[in-house]
Amino acid sequence: MSQIWNDPNFHAYVVPTILLILSPFIGGLLMGVDRRVTARLQNRRGPPIVQPFYDVFKLFGKEDNVVNKTYLVFGLAYQTTVVLSLALLLFKYDLLVITFIFGLSFIFLVLAGYSVRSQFSYVGSNRDLLQMHSYEPILLLVVFLIRLVTGSFQVDSIFAASQPLLYVLPLALLAIFLILPIKFRKSPYDISSAHQEIAQGPMTEFAGKYLGLIESAHFFEMFFMLAFIGLFYSKDLVIGSITVPWWIMSLGLMLVAYIFAIVVDNATARLRVDQMLKQVYIIGLILILLNLAYILVTGRWIA
């Protein structure tokens, strides 16, 4: 057993494959727990935690009214690119490529929204583009900062670094937390899919199993963001004689992010697009600049 555990091929290929297969289930369960916790925070009982799976399987059993074929293609492209970006992250590929492909998935969703003649879809896509406009620079700048301190875009170099990223880039992690509600489609930045306001945003015209596919893509997205945050602590923590393995620290960081997203979702109301742009740009850029100054002044290169 320990022989398998120590085998580098096991960590490089077998573990990511298992995680990739399990990721929709983990993401779905996380969403279910999220809905349950939200309900409890609002003093309701809430749906069972397997509710997202019920939703998706129900959608697969429904009639699908197809408006035109273009948006099906874009919807499918959205699903596949999300899965692809998650796979690249789990198999430790280039961080820059991962971010771009993840951004591409967003673009496909926007194009799907533009390819049907529904004004809700159009408004949702416009807002989605603005959201992308606000979060993508922050995410890219964080990736550049990671490149600056580790000396490489490869995910492996984060694992090979002398210190976990959290010690060097704490403010960059805060900037990621800032854009987390955008990627989770939660308050205060749930502007694009604005529940009850503009139907469902870009997903408006999807029905039946195609909507089910889009819903399951959200599971992957959730898992992707959490896995990305998990990169910020990828070293064993040694306190005296006790050694905490890196994956526990990683999971702890993911849990913090997850709870942060839920609490913020319940504590805030939806903002306007211009408010979101201002907040994300100003706070996010200040955090990143401060972090850059911190690295430059203390000279903490961890390559």
Binding site: K62, A199, A207
Partner: protein, 158 residues
Amino acid sequence: MSFTELSRKKSPWVLHVGTGGCNGCDLEILSCLTPRFDVSRFGVYSTGNPKHADVMLCVGPVTLKYKEIITNLYNQMPDPKVVIAIGTCASTGGIYQGCYGTCGALDQVVPVDVYVPGCNVRPEAIIDGLVLALDILNEKERVILDEKKKSKTSRGAA
């Protein structure tokens, strides 16, 4: 019961349509979503989008101007779908019965599966109606599948 049927029973997505009533029943539907009655424990999720909905909650006598809109919404909902008439106005026409501006009742316009009378309806009654509708959803799907099979076999014979 297959897993799809189970999940269909567990996750009704609801479309709430007000067709020109006094807004009393609308408020009772909203109070269903509050902590006291919380319909979300049955997996109910209120969408504002007919293409995602399974259940249509209709409130109020259907005014003549709303007739076209409601048939449109009904046709946009994917099968299997269920329509619930909430309140006396939607079920029978209520105090608007025979009025020149209304169609009489909801079942004059679209086929209604569950009637929940009351003026206003109690939230408990709405929840009862919803739970009744869940069984009808699966029955409807079975009928649709049977018809498909029949049309396939008849086409094969021809």
